[in-house]
Every structure is written in C-alpha cells, then in structure tokens.
Symmetry: C2
Subunit: 326 residues, 2 copies
C-alpha cells in the first residue's frame, strides 16, 4: 500500500454519491485508517459535504491528484463506467467499485476487461468490483466454503431478501406494486433485473474449475396472495411483491451452478443458503447479509486490502480475507 | 509461484506420513496441478510409497532438493517442529503445515515466530499453519463473515463434532471411554487437549482488531448419560464421551471472543455455529466441516495459493480465497 498509505491513513476518493456511495461514506465514521480527500458527482457538483468539508467536483478529470483508493459507486454498466474507471486508474488510484458487471467481466466483456486490466497494470494499481451481490453472498462465500471440500461437483445458492427493509429505489427496481403485465413489460424492457447473477456464476465457475459454458437467466414475478403493506404503500393481492431471478450455469447440458435470488417486499426469513454438492458436501445458512448494509460494509472492509493484491483487474477471490488494514 | 510451478505441476514434498499426512496425500489423487516428488518420515524410512513410487527418507536433511511446496503434518508443537520447518524453508520450500501452534504464533511464541519469519523471508518462501481447526472453522470463517458487517463487537463460535465418525487416535485424544477421574488426570497431564483454540482466538482477535489481552482455556468432560457404542467399544453410563473445551478472550475483563469446541462420540447434529455480535450482526450455521476430511481438503486447497502471499510467516487470513491454482 505504499502508494496510498500515509501517516493520516489511506486517502479515499468518493466517486458517485447516490444511496450506495453515501451509505459507504457513513460506514467510514470512526475508522481512523481512512481519510476522505475528494468527492465526485455531477449531480452534487459545487456542494460541500459534511464529511471532511469536501467540495464535490463534477468529473474525475477535475481531481488533479494521484494515489489512494477510489470508491466507485456509479452504476451497474461496465461500458458506462469504463471512461471513469480508466481515468481513476490512470491517475494512480486503486479502485473498489460496486459496478456489478465488474465483479467478473473476463468472459462476458473480455475486451473491456483486458483494457482495464492493462491500464491498471501499467499504473501499478488494482481494480476490483465488489459488494454483497455480486462480490460476496452468492460467489465469494461459496468459493470460501469450497476450500473445506475434497471436491465440489455442483453449487446451489438461494438468497432471500425482504425488499421492504431496503432502500426505496430497490423496491421500485424489483417491481413492488406493479401488475403482473407491467412487471413483464419492464422485464422485457430491461428495467427490472438485478444485475450481477451471471457475474457471480462466472466467478464461482472459474474459481472452482467447474467448466460451465452455458448460462441462462430467468426473471419471474413473486405475486401477492393477499394485500401486503410496504414503504410506498400497499401491494394488492394479485400484484407484484418483487422479483424471482435464477441463473443456471451448465456443462454439457448438466446444471452445475444454480443461483436463485428472491427479492420482494414482505418475504419472511431473509437468509442465504449455500449447498455444495461434493465430497463430503456442505450446507451453510447465513442470516444477516442485508443488501445495502452489507454492500457498504464489504466495500469499506475491502479498502485496506485491495492494494495488497497484484496490480491489474482482480476478482474478490484473489484478495486476502482479513478486513483489517495493517 | 515461480519457484514451484513447472510444466508437470507444483512439486510437493510430504513431510510426516501419519493419519493426516496420508489423508492429505490421498486427496491429491486426480489433481493434475500437483506432483509428489519426495516423502519424509522416520517411521517409514526406506519404504516405497504407492504414490509416485516415492522412497521415504528419514529426515528433511536427506532431501537434497530445492523448491516446491512442503506439506508438513508432523505434530502440534511448534517448538518440536521448528528444526524441520527451518530446514524446509532454508532449502527453498514453501511450507503448508498442520502444526496447530503455527496457526498464529505471533503472540504466544514470538521468538520462534520471528525466527521462522526471518528464515522464510530470507529464502523468499511462505510458511503457513492451517487445517480445519485451527485454520478454518473457528477463525478463518468468522473473519471472512466479518467483512459483511459495519462493525463487530464480539464473536461466538460453537463447533460440535461427533468423534465417533473420526479416526481412532482422535477418539483416544478426546478421552472416550475413560472414567471422569482418568479424564481429569489426563487433562492435568496435558495428554487430553485439542491444541489450537487459543491460536484461533488470537487470529480472530488480531484480524478483527478486538484488542483482547486476556485468554483463558477450560477443559471439561462430556459424560455419557446412557451407554454409547463407538469404534473401540462401548462408553458406559457415567464415563466420558469426549471433551468440552472453551477459550474466552477478553478486553478489560469483558469477554469478546468465545470459542466453544465439543468433540465426543455420539454427539448429535455436528455443526459449526458462528455468531457475530455487531452492526447489523450475523448468524452462520455450517454442516459438513468434518475434522479429518476438512483438514486434508483445506491443506490441499491451500497448496496452489500459498506461494501467492508475500514471503514470510503468514496466517490464513492473508491468503487469497480461491482454492484453484491458476
């Protein structure tokens, strides 16, 4: 971390001050290992933040500085993020990003991945996509658990999230309150979809050497059987509570990775269930991986270790586990 | 891995061919990334192993070779292992060891730790103590899970193992079949004790920055209420089924880490329960971490990544997660 550590801690640049970016910022309170030194968001340009009295600039080209770690929370599209990421890496920043498509872009977007990897290597810094999903619950944890197994033949992950406990944009994103017809239209239009499941499947596939080549994704509504109250009002019976999304990865027609995500208002018993079919096989049930909170926590707990990986575009399984900066 | 990778795979030296060492060796079947090139065990010296037709030598000084990864499965005592570890490191081997006291020796045995660290750095290799416990179930997993939390105030781990499913030496080690009096004598004599709980507590304490300075360990018998059959015969009612061991780590008199291990014949529902008291807090229940099998698996799944850490004495939280060699 020679490029980013200083007596006052690791210097942080905040890029993107939407709900996730601000959530991450709030989780830095009391962490003396870090010091926020700049912030970027076109929507807030010119304003002054409470944290560190930072004046927000419009664009990363206005930073006029080098080094430290940039926290990039500005959208799910890797193509859309590439110019900003390239600028940050070129000015010598390690980058920890919540861009879902960055979690494992090597197979889905190989040209973009190769370009970003080259820029990061050239400038001796690390680029990493992470968060709770993708980046932790449905990929990193199964990979970590696989280390206890002689062999793993297949992986099944079932994540259940109560969207009623989450931020309002998420409730809209999962389609809460829509009719089944409206939900179907928005799925076809691409506005209802959790981005990141195929990335998680590719990460698991590659880390465990499962050899899957076929990836399918289906998105269905979870429909209310009776009226359900939530943050923005009421979901009537027969209307949509949220999304039921499934990615299956196969080798020679055999489904070896199954990632099943249910995010809807009012879902009981939020949990993450991981089943490894292997020798001897394993089941893990975790309660407490709440989406927004866990994404902010995972990002903050990654800041101190991202610089300990080899320069380049990295995936979460390549970092050391310990969240502490030391 | 430049010092150990070759077209034929990573070269392995097997040091210690007891139950664990042989278990590890059997788990290498079908893993083309590795190639066994030498074996060391005084009890088997001169014999030829089925695996690779290796002729076993008596001592590491007879190896006459350099490089690759040594798998060291030869006892729990770090002081006892130091000469062998030093010889292996000095001859350019990365070392993955199941020596329990090596899992985190920095606080308990700082002089030995410093000496081994210096030798490893001097020769550009990594020394790591691992296994399922210590090394995974009660330390690595809680550390990994902490990354999802804004903050962690306290850690509680409860590991339940049915010793009846395990190798016979373990059943003897936990005192199965003894009277309560014999059990107490052997605890006082130091022959009944699972080695590694304080090491796990120190690993968690350091990785999570909990600041504990006091460590206590208690060992009690689990007593049969009715006769219980097991591998070597029958435990009569009133006699010992196994061990109930507890390590508590405290800061300013407050217990912040509680590691509770129960290993006995006939214990129902073997499982690992991790509870993180924090924001927001988390509970994890894993079924499938069987001691001997998981130790062998963890060791084998570590061989490909030990060389990706910086040279020196390392702890498991400093390695990348992905078990694959690539």
């Amino acid at each position: 971390m020679s490029s980013s550590a200083s007596p006052a801690g690791i210097e942080l640049v905040h890029v993107g001050l939407g709900p996730i970016g601000l959530h991450v910022m709030s989780y830095l309170d009391g962490r003396d290992a870090f010091r926020s030194v700049a912030a970027v968001d076109p929507a807030l340009a010119g304003q002054t933040l409470e944290r560190g009295g930072l004046r927000v600039v419009r664009d990363v080209t206005e930073l006029g500085r080098r080094g430290g770690v940039a926290i990039h929370c500005a959208g799910s599209s890797l193509a859309g993020a590439e110019p900003t990421l390239t600028a940050l890496l070129s000015s010598g920043h390690h980058v920890v990003s919540t861009c879902e498509e960055l979690a494992d872009p090597w197979q889905a977007q190989p040209e973009v991945a190769a370009r970003l990897d080259a820029v990061a290597r050239e400038h001796g810094v690390v680029l990493l996509g992470t968060g709770v999903n993708p980046g932790y619950a449905m990929d990193y944890l199964p990979i970590v658990l696989s280390a206890s197994q002689r062999s793993v033949r297949a992986v099944d992950v079932h994540r259940v999230q109560d969207a009623g406990l989450r931020r309002l944009p998420l409730q809209r994103k999962v389609g809460a309150g829509l009719s089944v017809e409206e939900f179907g239209e928005r799925v076809r239009g691409g506005t209802i979809r959790h981005v990141g499941l195929p990335e998680s499947a590719r990460l698991v596939n590659r880390a465990l050497g499962l050899g899957c080549t076929g990836f399918t994704e289906t998105i269905d509504p979870i429909v209310a059987e009776k009226p359900v109250a939530y943050g923005e009002g009421l979901v009537e019976a027969g209307h949509v509570l949220g999304v039921d999304q499934l990615v299956v990865a196969s080798r020679d027609g055999e489904a070896l990775i199954r990632l099943h995500l249910q995010m809807a208002v009012g879902l009981p018993d939020p949990r993450d269930v991981i089943t490894l079919d292997g020798e001897p096989g394993l089941t893990s049930v975790v309660r407490g991986l709440h989406g927004d909170s866990a994404t902010a926590a995972v990002v903050v707990n990654t800041l101190g270790r991202v610089g300990r990986a080899a320069p380049g575009l990295r995936t979460v399984d390549e970092l050391p586990a310990s969240p502490q900066y030391r």
